[in-house]
Every structure is written in structure tokens, then in C-alpha cells.
């Protein structure tokens, strides 16, 4: 990844003597992450997708989300999702793997609208949690205490911010008829079933854990 002024490894450098003019290299502290010196390979769409979900979640956890940031991340998610939908094979049969908290199947229709995502995230991740510190929070690897629970009322904080009409908008999301819309066909049936279906389409938890570690490591530098 990009280093904060990290000097490239010796074998990659041209043979030049370090002169006093290379002060900008001397000034910087080396990154503990060994990957940062290398030229980054582009992340596969699924990793980018997970990263975007993570950013969305993180953005919503802030006191008052940055609307521009949110909109740009959601639009990027849409692009990635449509790209993955074009590329993906037919969905695998569901398998009894550990439930993954992420709400989205790669071949779901283009519907990552902001409030729909908010709704799913709030039900699954529990935005009511008292965790506030980013570095302590590893939501993607936490075993899900709550599954998809349409009956559970959405928390006030993040939803209200985008629903300017406050409580009126809030109650719209609690209305379970939302789940009857064709945009989210997988969520119509019993929540346990759908979770397995979504899991079967395969976002590896260990891959997410690794990604999380990288991100958290980056953030604390």
C-alpha cells in the first residue's frame, strides 16, 4: 500500500548515494506493515465491495455522517455490485456455514440504496452498540448475536440523519412491508433461511478478518 514517506526497499532502489538532499526520506518513519513498500495490486471486486460496506458502516457510526462521503461510497458500491453481478456464476446451493453478518449477495439486483443498506446494517450490526472507538471495533469478524430481525426497531441515530423528517421517516423503516418489495427478494422469507442463502454465495470470513486487520493496522499508523 502507499507508505507515508516510506523508503523503498534497497533492491528496488536505483544505486544512488544518500546525500543530504534525500532528507525527505530520512525524515519519515518506516511503516510496520511490510506490504506498504510494495506497489499495490488492485483489490478484487469482492474485496472492494467489502471495503465499501465497511466504509459505509463506519461512516454511519459517526455522530453525523458526511453526506458526500456516504453518497460516493454507496455509488461506488453500486458500480462494484453491478460489475460483480455481470461476472458472477449462478448461485451455489446454500450450505450450513457460519452465518455471515453481511447482508448482500453479489448477484442481488442493483438496489444498494442508502436507506435500504442502513436498514440492513442497523438490524444486523446493531448500531445501538456502545462501541465508539474505531480501533476496537471489528464488526465484520464479530459472531452475529442477532440475525436479520425485521421486527426489531431501527436505532435512532444514523437513520434519522438521512431521514430529515425524523420520526416519520424512522417509522417507515420499521414497517415490515418494506421487505415485501421486489428489490430484496431474498429477504421475504424467514430470516434464518435467507442468511444461509446469502452466506452460500460466499464471502469468506477469514478473508474479511484479514482485510480488517490490514485496515485497522493502516488506520493506526
Amino acid at each position: 500500500m502507499l507508505g507515508k514517506g516510506v523508503k523503498r526497499k534497497r533492491e528496488e532502489e536505483e544505486e544512488e548515494d544518500l546525500t543530504s538532499q534525500d532528507w525527505w526520506l530520512e525524515e519519515t518513519t518506516p511503516s510496520p506493515n511490510p506490504e506498504e513498500g510494495a506497489s499495490p495490486a488492485p483489490l478484487p471486486p469482492s474485496s472492494l465491495f467489502n471495503l465499501s460496506i465497511f466504509k459505509l458502516h463506519h461512516g454511519l457510526r459517526r455522530g453525523e455522517p458526511d453526506l458526500r462521503h456516504l453518497v460516493l461510497v454507496v455509488n461506488t458500491l453500486r458500480r462494484i455490485q453491478s460489475s460483480m453481478a455481470l461476472e458472477s456464476s449462478p448461485p451455489e446451493p446454500p450450505c450450513p456455514a457460519p452465518v455471515d453478518p453481511l447482508p448482500v449477495a453479489p448477484d442481488a439486483p442493483l438496489c444498494t440504496s442508502v436507506s435500504a443498506l442502513l436498514d440492513d446494517l442497523s438490524h444486523i450490526e446493531g448500531l445501538c452498540d456502545t462501541q465508539t472507538s474505531f480501533s476496537e471495533d471489528i464488526p465484520l469478524s464479530r459472531p452475529p448475536e442477532t440475525g436479520l430481525d425485521p421486527g426489531r426497531p431501527a436505532p435512532l441515530g444514523s437513520l434519522e440523519l438521512l431521514l430529515e423528517d425524523g420520526l416519520e421517516g424512522l417509522f417507515d423503516d420499521i414497517d415490515t412491508s418494506m421487505y415485501d418489495c421486489e428489490l430484496w427478494p431474498n429477504l421475504k422469507t424467514d430470516s434464518g433461511e435467507t442468511e444461509d442463502k446469502i452466506q452460500g454465495q460466499g464471502l469468506d470470513v477469514s478473508e474479511l478478518d484479514y482485510l480488517m486487520d490490514v485496515l485497522v493496522g493502516t488506520q493506526t499508523l
Partner: protein, 419 residues
């Protein structure tokens, strides 16, 4: 503290900075010394005041940051100076005035301020003004509050010098400088259903000469020019400026990097400049389908967009500015670099704002970033750039070649070499 905005006043004599702590610091240029013709006056601190304080929105349980997002000066009409400063929610009009005399010799007050017993007064005298040490006072004259649901990103004073606009993510309001209890909404892009939200307003500015014209930019890379004479609500633009996407450069991040972070009219009013993540574009107001000039600020970052998305740098909002004659434009970059593009000669230069690397009064050495391949001596490789050292805010003196460049915590003032 972290500098969040920099702005010269109309004469260039004063330079205001706003910071994350809600403070405004104003610098004043020294009067030119007749004997020292080789350099222009230096800027020294003139006034410091706390413009905004953190507030708490009890209804939403949210803290409102005191960070100053923008400062705009009003043209000077009398001895006092006026500026508008804004945080996310509230705009304030400040009066900055000098006091260098004070009255002495009151009849009913002692010199220390205690009141005299009127019965002891036997003669009357006329108080006189005596000189005192210069005091610069800043006082809030107007507070324009409660008109923005979303975060204010821009303020711009109209050429009529009576009205101004303020823009947040979804709306633009028009104010009269004398009236604080109401404003007119002139642009509203909030969809009826927030689920349909795909675009936000990123910047807005009034035309420098036409008091009916303003522009606003969006997160999708478009600029809309609106004419307030057309209708009260300017939801329908008069002109839409947009460059078609280059298919060879398409990526998942195309939209993010096309998001416009700043828009500035030229002093002449004929052109406007926009800054997106990788480039600066100059638009002729008469041509909507593409810019007339495009300058690459740091094209070497195009192959690093994934990493920049990961560390959120791709969301950084760089500003840009014109010089007084509209012949040169300037913008910031990473590693405390800033770039200038000469529109006439088509030459560009990269300079660095750094205390360690530049002694005062020495000529800045041009910098060069090596994108790939063999790195020459004095070049810096892309992987060595420090992405925490970003120059987001720059300003150019309206008349002279003096620039103000803000790194995260420091303000640098540079001037061109005077022979």
C-alpha cells in the same frame, strides 16, 4: 491547530485563516518600507478571535463542530473590515475595527471607570481623545443560523454587496446581509425519497460581475450555472457543464475522482476553474460540453486509486485559486507540494511548503515526482510521498504575486523574487 480555510481580502492587505478550533486569525501586511524596495511588506498577526464554538444539537444528539469551513471578506466601505465566517451550520458576520484613541476627561467618571458623585462636580470639561496603543477588536454583528440541515460547504458574497449565498450538501440559500431571521432557498436537490439520493452539492459561487448568476458543483463532476432571474427556485439550470468520461480511464473510482471539490470564477468572469481529485479544469462559460484547459495535478496517483480509497485520501477536498490577472492557477497536493500552472506559457511547477527544506528568504527549489522507472537525483518516488501532509487550502493575493499556502498546521506566505 489545523487550518481549514485561507482568504485574502479585496486589497490583499489582510489575510484571514480559519481553523478547526473555530478561531480566525487575521494577518496584516506591513506598509511598504520606502527604503526596502527589494521586498514587499511582511504579514504579521493583526487580530485573533474565536468565531465559532462547539454546539450541541439536543434534538439529534449531535455535536456541531466549530471548525471554520469558509471565510469570505466583504469589500471595505469604511474604516472597519467585515468578513463572513461559517462552520457546518451557522454563518457569522464579523466586524474588525481598530481603536487607537480613547476619550479622557469625563465629567461623571473617574479615569479608572468609577462613577463620580454628581454633587461633587463643580466645573464641566469637554473630554478629549488621546492616542493609545492600537487595539483591534472583532465583534459579531450578525448571526445567520438555523437555515441548513446539512453541512455548509460554501459561502459567496454577491457582486451587489448586499446578498450572499450559503450552500450545504443539498440546498443553497440566499441571504441579505442585514436580515438574519430568514433566507430564501434557491436550490434544492434533495429527492423526495432519500433512497434516491445519488448526488450532493460540493461548492457554490456567485459570478463576480453578474449579480443574478451563480454556479454550483456536484459530487458527480457537473457544474450548473443558474440565473436567479429565471425563477425563484433555481432547480433548473441555465447551463450544465460536464465533460464526458474518458472510457480508457474508467474504473470503480471514476465517480469519486470526478467529484468537484472547488469551483472558482476567474476575476474577469469569463472563465471558471474546477478542481477534482486529479486535475484542474478551466471552463469557458460559453462552452458547456468540455473544459478549454485541463491541468493534471498528480496524474501519478491514478494507478494508486485503490490504496487512496482504502485510506480515504481519495475523498480529500483540494481547493484552487487564480492569480490576480487570471494567467496562473494554483492548487495543492500531497507531501506538502503545491502546483502552479501558467495558462499562457503552459509551464507548470511543483513547489514544497516545508520549514525543514526551505530557509526563509531562499528561493524555493522546484520538485519532481517520479511516477515509475528510474528515479533521477532530486526526484521523489510516488511511494515515498507522505499522504498525511496535504495542502488543501491556498490563496493568491488579488494584486501581487504573494501566495498563502496552508499545510496541516502551518501557514506559509511566499512571494515571487523581486529584483
Amino acid at each position: 491547530d489545523i487550518i481549514s480555510t485561507v482568504e485574502f481580502n479585496h486589497s490583499g492587505e489582510l489575510l484571514a485563516t480559519g481553523d478547526k478550533g473555530g478561531r480566525v486569525v487575521i494577518f496584516q501586511q506591513e506598509q511598504e518600507n520606502k527604503t526596502q524596495t527589494h521586498s514587499r511588506g511582511e504579514y504579521n498577526v493583526y487580530s485573533t478571535f474565536q468565531s465559532h464554538e462547539p454546539e450541541f444539537d439536543y434534538l439529534k444528539s449531535l455535536e456541531i463542530e466549530e471548525k471554520i469551513n469558509k471565510i469570505r471578506w466583504l469589500p471595505q466601505k469604511n474604516a472597519a473590515q467585515f468578513l463572513l465566517s461559517t462552520n457546518d451550520k451557522t454563518i457569522k458576520l464579523w466586524k474588525i475595527s481598530e481603536r487607537d484613541k480613547r476619550p479622557e476627561g469625563y465629567n461623571l467618571k473617574e479615569e479608572d471607570g468609577r462613577y463620580r458623585d454628581p454633587t461633587t462636580v463643580t466645573t464641566l470639561r469637554v473630554p478629549v481623545f488621546r492616542p493609545m496603543d492600537l487595539m483591534v477588536e472583532a465583534s459579531p454583528r450578525r448571526i445567520f443560523a438555523n437555515a441548513h440541515t446539512y453541512h455548509i460547504n460554501s459561502i459567496s458574497i454577491n457582486s451587489d454587496y448586499e446578498t450572499y449565498l450559503s450552500a450545504d450538501d443539498l440546498r443553497i440559500n440566499l441571504w441579505h446581509l442585514e436580515i438574519t431571521d430568514r433566507s430564501f432557498n434557491i436550490v434544492d436537490i434533495k429527492p423526495a425519497n432519500m433512497e434516491e439520493l445519488t448526488e450532493v452539492i460540493t461548492a457554490a459561487e456567485f459570478h463576480p460581475n453578474s449579480c443574478n448568476t451563480f454556479v454550483y458543483s456536484s459530487s458527480k463532476g457537473t457544474i450548473r450555472l443558474c440565473d436567479m432571474r429565471a425563477s425563484a427556485l433555481c432547480d433548473r439550470h441555465s447551463k450544465l457543464f460536464e465533460e464526458p468520461e474518458d472510457p480508457s480511464n474508467r474504473s470503480f473510482f471514476s465517480e469519486i475522482i470526478s467529484s468537484i471539490s472547488d469551483v472558482k470564477f476567474s476575476h474577469s468572469g469569463r472563465y471558471m476553474m474546477t478542481r477534482d481529485y486529479l486535475s484542474v479544469k478551466i471552463w469557458d462559460l460559453n462552452m458547456e460540453n468540455r473544459p478549454v484547459e485541463t491541468y493534471q495535478v498528480h496524474e501519478y496517483l491514478r494507478s494508486k486509486l485503490c490504496s487512496l480509497y482504502e485510506n480515504d485520501c481519495i475523498f480529500d477536498k483540494f481547493e484552487c485559486c487564480w492569480n490576480g490577472s487570471d494567467s496562473v492557477v494554483m492548487t495543492g497536493s500531497y507531501n506538502n507540494f503545491f502546483r502552479m500552472f501558467d495558462r499562457n506559457t503552459k509551464r507548470d511547477i511543483t513547489l514544497e511548503a516545508s520549514r525543514e527544506n526551505n530557509k526563509p528568504r531562499t528561493v524555493l527549489k522546484p520538485r519532481k515526482v517520479c511516477a515509475s522507472g528510474k528515479r533521477k537525483k532530486d526526484e521523489i518516488s510516488v511511494d515515498s510521498l507522505d499522504f498525511n501532509k496535504k495542502i488543501l487550502h491556498t490563496a493568491w493575493h488579488p494584486k501581487e504575486n504573494i501566495i498563502a499556502v496552508a499545510t496541516t498546521n502551518n501557514l506559509y506566505i511566499f512571494q515571487d523574487k523581486v529584483n
